[in-house]
């Protein structure tokens, strides 16, 4: 057993002591000595921090006080360290490096009493994130009545705003049960009806725009392709087109055809994947299995044409890296014929299932006016009757050689968005037949090209989920600035509109109906803290707190 008398001797030397009761002795310590004392205490085995409290005694003696209660188990004794903190300089050394249990206590004292500690502390550990700044509720300056006036919980205000006396908050996320991506929706429900929705995202910011600035032009397509796990090829195509447009490079026609062919194959597999997930979400797993079964042939086809099932890796600035020969074209056509037949059969059956129909029809309604105002893209906007399609509106790759007429539905519900995708699978099969038939001979990439600094270029692609647009400012060896905008970024604000006044049980499907890709959306840090709909992101803070607490 350590010689605790040494500890007592040391403490009495450095601080004035005063017994509280027979087992408890209090030592009044100058804050300059706190760190050293903590260091000494931490060396004694069997001494542990039992609690710490901060108190506002300015009315009594002009100080804030910190009381650290250490226990010595084997002696059944307490040591209380009293540390006065002057009002003018409400700061104290942090002892968390030596007494690790002090971590949360310090965070609390910081939040509630406004004591600054000598280390980086996250804001609002205990208090809500929208708590008014510089209001420390445990200070005697505030009575309960004052605090009630100063702060009203957001949910209460929101409940009043939407006129619901008994609104209940239901969180979806931070991990979507079916989409396997991090996002967070707060649904306010009265009974089974959703009355309001808030979205929080940007939980998976990956910093890739910054990363690209340190990569060479021909390395970035491989990074871009990894923005999305389902429709990555649209991003590498967008990037390459942006650079090509900026530098006025004319890509060989054959390369343009190959890009369009791969893009359409990607759209087919993506839509089949979505239809499968949608059926799964509404409990029709038979449909899910068959959609994914016929999708598998498309995946194998993609591998045959590019070398990879996904993240095809064949785009470079100035063209593509893999050619398509006659034999591959033949195989491709055979797969498409088979797919068309099977898909037609299966989707007819699936959409006739009464439960599927009633879950899709009339749910997640998005009025055309809202769709237009929010500048939505892809099947989301086309499901509300607006014929917006980059392939037709801003032709790129080989779409200028084949006609693309946007597939639209006017109903604006989940069924409409599903039908748009069904229509687009058939459309893609037809487009592929045209492209494979018309593909001209020639080279598939530029021999060489020279980068030039400070040129601006835009590249856009109609991804399965909607328009993807990349903006490039060129640098000498690497992009100077590369800005990515994925379709979900544009489409997410529509989700709260679709969810409002809907049934809670339809929420997962309605969220999925825009085919969201949260990671794609979160690729860049663009947060407007003031804007109403998407709020600040507390996860960064949460993560800090978590690590701080575990350190």
């Amino acid at each position: 057993m350590p010689d605790y008398q040494l500890l007592y001797k040391y403490l009495r030397n450095i601080a004035s002591s005063e017994p509280i009761d027979e087992n408890t002795e209090k030592f009044v310590l100058q804050k300059d000595h706190l760190l050293e004392v903590a260091k000494v205490i931490s060396r004694f085995e069997g001494v542990y921090l039992r609690t710490m409290t901060a108190s506002d005694e300015r009315n009594v003696n002009g100080f804030y006080k910190l009381y650290y209660v250490f226990g010595i188990d084997s002696l059944h004794k307490n040591i209380v360290l009293e540390v006065p903190i002057p009002e003018k300089d409400a700061s104290a050394p942090s002892i968390a490096d030596y007494v690790r249990a002090a971590d949360w206590y310090e965070l609390e004292a910081h939040d509630l009493m406004g004591i600054q500690f000598s280390r980086e502390l996250p804001q609002n550990f205990v208090l809500p994130e929208d708590w008014p700044k510089d209001v420390y509720p445990l200070r005697k300056d505030y009575s309960i009545e004052d605090l009630v006036k100063l702060y009203r919980p957001r949910i209460e205000a929101q409940a009043r705003e939407i006129g619901a006396e008994a609104a209940l908050l239901i969180p979806i996320g931070p991990y979507h049960p079916a989409l396997h991506e991090p996002e967070h929706f707060e649904l306010y429900v009265v009974g089974e009806k959703i009355v309001d929705v808030k979205y929080r995202g940007f939980m998976v910011h990956r910093g890739i725009e910054k990363l690209a600035e340190s990569m060479k032009y021909d390395q970035v397509p491989f990074l871009a392709e990894r923005i999305c796990g389902i429709c990555g090829y649209v991003h590498s195509t967008s990037y390459c087109q942006a650079v090509e447009n900026a530098l006025k490079l004319q890509v060989p026609e054959r390369a343009e055809y190959i890009r369009s062919i791969i893009l359409e194959i990607e759209r087919i597999h993506s839509h089949l994947l979505w239809l499968g997930v949608a059926f799964h979400l509404i409990g029709y797993d038979t449909g899910f299995m068959h959609m994914w079964r016929i999708r598998e042939n498309v995946m194998i086809l993609a591998e045959l044409l590019t070398g990879s099932r996904k993240t095809y890796g064949i785009n470079i600035v100035g063209g593509v890296r893999r050619d398509i020969d006659e034999e591959k074209i033949k195989k491709c056509l055979a797969v498409l014929d088979n797919l068309e037949k099977e898909f037609k059969n299966l989707i007819d059956i699936a959409l006739a299932v009464p439960q599927v129909k009633s879950r899709l029809r009339g749910t997640g309604y998005l009025p055309p006016s809202e769709a237009a105002q929010l500048s939505l893209v892809g099947p989301t906007v086309r499901g509300s009757g607006l014929p917006r399609d980059v392939r037709r509106d801003y032709p790129y790759a080989a779409y200028k050689y084949v006609g693309v007429e946007p597939v639209t539905r006017s109903e604006g519900d989940n069924m409409a968005r599903a039908e748009v995708r069904v229509g687009e699978v058939f459309q893609s099969i037809e487009l592929l037949r045209q492209l494979l038939d018309k593909i001209p001979r020639g080279s598939i990439a530029l021999e060489s090209w020279e980068p030039e600094a400070n040129k601006h270029g835009i590249g856009s692609v109609e991804a399965p989920r909607g328009e993807v647009i990349h903006y490039i400012i060129t640098g000498r060896l690497s992009p100077y600035r590369w800005r990515v905008r994925a379709p979900t970024y544009q489409n997410l604000p529509a989700v709260p509109i679709m969810l409002r006044n809907g049934d809670l049980a339809d929420a997962p499907l309605t969220i999925a109906s825009i085919d969201p890709c949260f990671s794609c959306t979160d690729r860049a840090l663009v947060i407007d803290l003031k804007s109403g709909k998407s709020r600040s992101i507390p996860l960064v803070l949460l993560a800090q707190k978590g690590f701080g607490a575990l350190r």
Partner: protein, 168 residues
């Protein structure tokens, strides 16, 4: 057929299709002829120029110097199987294999090293180039001044400058 019971039509489809999963690894191969798997570096052909390390997007290929040896290190754990290294290799030393069964419980199984002997600078002793690369350059560039070939870039610059500055 009445629409209400149309969904039963899936039953004959399902029974006709049967099981679609493969009895991996006993059945037919899982990958097509175009598949890109792990790469293989031929140590006999590699000259240690490092072109592959400069194009590799995820930096799975790196050049590391350990003592007198220059190592071209391939870490398949980072590899994205794009095959850009094979495209740029001037010696065609890199081939793309169809290997995809790469899981292991030993992390060193994921590394492949190709070792190269380094040449020392005759003046300052810096090891500056793989011997094979120097020999390769010598065999291509006929006018390479023999007396300066074994100087590191810095010493070579100084030597060239001092010769130019010395009045003849």
């Amino acid at each position: 057929m009445i629409d209400m019971v149309k969904f039963v039509k899936v039953i004959p489809i399902a029974s006709k299709v049967g099981t679609v999963t493969i009895r991996y690894p006993y059945d037919k191969p899982l990958v097509t002829e175009s598949f890109r798997g792990a790469i293989e570096i031929d140590p006999a052909k590699c000259v240690g120029c490092g072109a592959c390390t400069r194009i590799c997007p995820p930096k799975a290929l790196t050049l590391v110097q350990e003592g007198n040896t220059l190592i071209l290190r391939y870490f398949v754990g980072r590899c994205i199987f794009c095959g850009m290294c094979a495209d740029v290799c001037p010696e065609k030393a890199i081939t793309i294999t169809k290997e995809f069964e790469l899981a292991t419980d030993q992390i060193h199984d994921l590394y492949t090293d190709v070792e190269h002997e380094l040449v020392e600078c005759e003046r300052c002793g810096t090891k500056f180039v793989a011997k094979k690369l120097l020999d390769k350059v010598k065999s291509i560039v006929e006018v390479l001044p023999e007396d300066r070939a074994k100087l590191c870039p810095n010493c070579r610059r100084l030597e060239t400058l001092s010769r130019a500055a010395t009045p003849r």
